[in-house]
Amino acid sequence: MGATAPATATPGEDRAPRPVTGLRTPRPGRRHSVNRPRRSVLLTVLTGLVLVYALVPLVWLVINSTKTQSGLLSSSGLWFDSDFAFFRNIADTLTYNDGVFVRWLFNTLLYVVVGAGGATFLAVLGGYALAKFQFPGKRGIFAVVIGAVAVPGTALAVPTFLMFSKMGLTDTPWAVIIPSLISPFGLYLMWVFAAEAIPTELLEAARIDGASEIRTFFTVSLPLLAPGIVTVLLFTMVATWNNYFLPLIMLKNPDWYPLTLGLNSWNAQAQTNGGEAIFNLVITGSLLTIVPLIAAFLLLQRYWQSGLAAGSVKE
């Protein structure tokens, strides 16, 4: 990524008024060329509108997670209530109904670790094969996998549910994990990434040195694939963490619910007869649900963004 701005020119320096020192030559004319364009307040403000759009709901979520159920109803949505209940809400969210939220959190982690981890592993192996080996059926594999992306979730959901129920897998974690193991997008990304990141000569050299294919894969290729792997891992993590439709179909027992399904059941609870309205817990729980993913994206941004950039080269 990023060969644009020369490291020496930080924006601050760029704009600071410099004393005129007479003899110093004027700055070169190409200062505002395509490579070092003039910054624009207008463009920043316009793009800022999209930024506001993106952030307002998140700000709303943070503000309203500090309110009690009654405070939600009585105070304005975009400012704090006099009663600051943030920590009480977190405690209530974690302990409500015998701490079922924590149980959902662990379920989600289980689905993410096994599902997204497994999906990434399979995608890395497969993408590497597509990028670096010639074998019969390769074009067919690619066509089938990409074609399958277009099949709507429900086209698969109903028969998968019936199949899994015959196999006795519904209402178990496997019903959520097994379908999560396939990420066509991950396979595509790894294929494109591996084609670029691993020089074929390097593999040839390793082979000539007598390294087995397994060894070559783990010691030569895997380190080169790291940014691509982080990228695929993050995106499969999001897909699994945010999964709603599949668990909705497969799981009846709330003990196996992931966070998404649990939160919705809390929300729906207010609509049922005699159900307690716990919107403050729904909102606080929502906040707790998105914090880990946002943290992961922020912490790992350097890696996944470079992985994505390389992945988008090919048409």
């Binding site: 644009t4 309203n64 304005s76 094969a129 074998f135 998968t160 179909i249």
Partner: protein, 307 residues
């Protein structure tokens, strides 16, 4: 797979067909695990779905083979067509708006003219990390005219904004949620594609006297056409699969969002509330075929322009 590793070929050139076959086996060894699971969770259900669609189960008489009767029923089913019409309208408006905003933001960030472009890039992307369920819950609360943001605005300014969850507006409200969720994701796809354009092209264009808009239309857009086509296809597929947002908002607007609001919702209702597995499978297959045709058409169009 270790069993496949042959005796050393370094010193002794193997017979011509040997290495090739070996390489093929190794290739399959690497992609085999993916394909095995893929067959289980994609191919088998699709085949099973096709099988199911050819039968009908009735309380009296059990299961019988009915050929294409289910397909005929679906094509004459007004519920199916109204659901399909709704998502078609949805995608005709939502996808261009979303991709348009995403493209403009990507171009703005890529232009290097923004203050704090890294902050923009990451902050606009963040909604992607929010589960559709949470996004729909959140926006659902905000849409509320009673205690949500819309209600606040009504109170503060003494106006009465229309209810975002009313029959006339609910589709647009869902469109807004989906746009919010995916605008940053698409922006990032476009931005990543823009990043890899060699900057020497811009310099050359500038020397030739091309302005920014000309550089965008003559260099940047053609260079990221692949990313544009892919994003369009994925957005279309997503629109046809619309389910999560309406199903969550249904709690708030039970009367405006019916159980056949989208084709996906209809299939779900048929299968899991109506126990009509065979018919549900049929509707799902038709939607699958429909989606693939549209996706393929978009791809062809995208590639034709390239020539």
């Amino acid at each position: 797979m270790t069993a496949l590793s042959p005796p050393s070929t370094a010193g002794h050139p193997a017979p011509p067909r040997g290495p090739r076959r070996r390489r093929a086996l190794i290739g399959w060894g690497f992609i085999g695990p993916f394909m095995a699971v893929f067959a289980l969770v994609f191919l088998a259900p699709i085949c099973y779905s096709i099988y199911l669609s050819l039968f009908r189960t009735q309380l009296v008489g059990g299961t019988s083979f009915v050929g294409f009767d289910n397909y005929q029923r679906a094509l004459e089913d007004p519920n199916f067509w109204s659901a399909l019409g709704r998502v078609t309208l949805f995608l005709a408006v939502q996808v261009p708006v979303m991709l348009g905003i995403a493209l403009l933001v990507a171009l703005a960030i890529d232009s290097g003219r923004l203050y704090g472009k890294n902050f923009f890039r990451i902050a606009i992307f963040l909604p992607y990390a929010v589960p559709a369920v949470v996004a729909a819950l959140m926006w659902g609360f905000m849409y509320g005219t009673r205690f949500g943001l819309v209600g606040n605005i009504n109170d503060a300014f003494g106006v009465s904004l229309p209810d975002p969850l009313s029959a006339g507006l609910v589709l647009a409200s869902i469109g807004n949620i989906v746009t919010w969720e995916f605008v940053g994701y698409n922006m990032l796809i476009f931005y990543s594609a823009l990043r890899v354009i060699p900057h020497s092209l811009y310099e050359a264009a500038e020397i030739d006297g091309a302005g920014q808009l000309r550089i965008i239309s003559a260099i940047k857009l053609p260079a990221i056409r692949g990313a544009l086509v892919i994003a369009t296809i994925f957005s279309i597929i997503g629109s046809f699969q619309l389910f999560n947002e309406p199903s969550i908002l249904k709690n708030l607007a039970p009367n405006t969002i019916t159980t056949d609001f989208t084709p996906n919702f209809y299939t779900y209702s048929l299968a899991f509330s109506g126990q009509q597995h065979n018919y549900a499978a049929t509707v799902a297959i038709i939607m699958g075929i429909f989606t693939m045709i549209i996706a393929y058409a978009v791809q062809l169009r995208g590639m034709r322009k390239e020539a």
